[in-house]
Symmetry: C2
Subunit: 416 residues, 2 copies
Amino acid sequence: MDVYTNVKNICDKAREASRSLGKKSGGERNLALLKMAEAILNAKDEIIEANKKDLENARSSGMKESMQDRLMLNEGRIKEIAKAIVKIADLKDPIGTGDIFTRPNGLEIHKTTVPLGVVAMIYEARPNVTPDAASLCVKSGNAVILRGGKEAINSNKCIVAAIRKALLECGFDENCVTLIEDTTRESSSALMQMRGGVDVLIPRGGKGLISSVVENAKVPVIETGAGNCHLYVDRSADIDMALKVAINAKCSRPSVCNAIETILVHGAVAEEFLQRFYTATRDYSLELRGCPLCCDILPGIGEATEEDYNTEYDDYIVSLKVVGSVYEAVEHIRKYSTGHSESIITEDHRSADYFTSSIDSCSLYVNASTRFTDGGEFGLGAEIGISTQKLHVRGPMGLEALTTTKYVIKGDGHTR
Amino acid sequence: MDVYTNVKNICDKAREASRSLGKKSGGERNLALLKMAEAILNAKDEIIEANKKDLENARSSGMKESMQDRLMLNEGRIKEIAKAIVKIADLKDPIGTGDIFTRPNGLEIHKTTVPLGVVAMIYEARPNVTPDAASLCVKSGNAVILRGGKEAINSNKCIVAAIRKALLECGFDENCVTLIEDTTRESSSALMQMRGGVDVLIPRGGKGLISSVVENAKVPVIETGAGNCHLYVDRSADIDMALKVAINAKCSRPSVCNAIETILVHGAVAEEFLQRFYTATRDYSLELRGCPLCCDILPGIGEATEEDYNTEYDDYIVSLKVVGSVYEAVEHIRKYSTGHSESIITEDHRSADYFTSSIDSCSLYVNASTRFTDGGEFGLGAEIGISTQKLHVRGPMGLEALTTTKYVIKGDGHTR
């Protein structure tokens, strides 16, 4: 069977499964989640064994240590996975909430949340995305098609086998969760073309993966991830606070999308802030790249180019720029931002208001670190990713993002 | 200047305009709408003059009479346009609504609706879409780029000139509303490629236009329109009601997307329903095409092919099929529906429940005509179109569909 037909068959079976899943009650779906968690715990030895194969392949193909760590599963991590599934079962059911309203002509309109139907995910080498996506989708009544990376294929097969067994045991269609075992480029490309077969495709991973999906998909996509985030230190800033937030936003976890890449600082406080920031970040071996004014204040640091301001480093590097006003800071951010998260440190509420009302990003912070842009931190309970688009959902995506609306209208022979 | 650069410049100016528009209060935006309505009334002689040119071109190029009627503007229609704008001003402001919640760590999260930014519309020969789209966008704080068809270009230019004059007069950036005067295929194609320049593109018009936009656009699109809608007459149906609803759903306005294209009828009531339907619809010169069982009951009608069941006629033609059960009706609808609107006529609540819970369409009716799928009928006040997609908005789109969410998060030096 060719790759396209294979993927098409998987989509058809997932559609069928989504129909029976859509009729399960919230209680039944939660029970299935608990069974899935149990099945993963019970299969821990097989999963660790399979994961060892993936790790061996990773080592022999020269994968970076930090990537190998993301790939690795041990007993502790498997317990964490099971715990996360139980936590998802505990969340409020996103399905079946809604309004009923009666129109003046007597028509009764029921507006209700329903599952999207068939959700597909394309991701890379992190096997924990597999149980995570599967449980979020089962919770929200969606069938899911998983296309993980080849690096984690043995782990993924083993995890999905355990999940499907659990689904069968509690009377669910096992095709509610399907792994595409073909990890060639052709299989993800087929998935991207499956109009009518896939209701939404969510890419999770690096920039290359996401932009390839956004550019090539014919099915609806939720774009996630890109974060060229900024911190602006206003002239009225509390400099101690600015330093604390800047270091947290840059250095606590530089590889994630809500970390900052550029710090803009008002000329009136530039000297104090930059010198103290330079000293304070030496422990992190943070590389600083600045505008000419920054380089005057901190001789010896590199110069920031136009390309630097456009770059999401995801690393221990930061661009710096001295600006003359909050207006100039806003101009800079408008030009270079990817619309994710930006923060202002200020004691002046007019600067804060101008900043938050003038920038068209998803999350705008006043006197806080951009690192809080996260489903858990926002209180959504679970997160499928962070949407950087404006349609459907913006920012951290909870279970609600996996639903759509249906109208059921009851009449008594009403005609128009 | 080449077409792409021209469209890019228009997008850049619209972005700039959207920024100042986004800061206007609801009251200021409503005032601008009233001025726009007034300006259109004041310019009625010029608009009618310009429209005459369009009508002459239409006649000499042999446009269908019904299309010519849609293109035509007279004093009465211009008054209707102005009245519709005033009605939009009266609607609730969709911007700035939201929640504030405080997290356990003290972070204060404000979640607010904000405009999408720059909205683009591609449409055909109906000049009334121009003031309609312009006023919905100004109401919701969005700049709009209008790419109407060449058939209405003179009318559109004149209407947009009046609107821009009104915007300027009340201190708005005139580029809040811009018409792309180039009506070549290249200009709409350029608009579809404008990633970052256009936040959403809404096609309004025939199937050809919509599928071309959905297939080719690189910018986010809201798909509207396609409606292969069904009516199912259950064995328990009140046949008088079934006839009344069937005739309304098919014949009251066959050219619109919420009209039905196929009637499915349970075998137990097929003979009575079909014979009475045949008699009752002779006044409409409705063409009937049926399955072999239908042709037995109504000798002389045409046979319905697979292609018929797949076709949105938008005309005085209907496909008929006798089915053995509500299950078979649901199977048929699942196979052929475009997910718009379907109706069941039944006195049996189990059939009604099975029908409404098993079909994945936007609007499911029990004992009512599909013709009610409409923003006005649903009480949304205004309608930008009917979304046939699942992401962002499904079904009739009100002003809310032109908004997205922004988070403003206030802390006191919070770090994670």
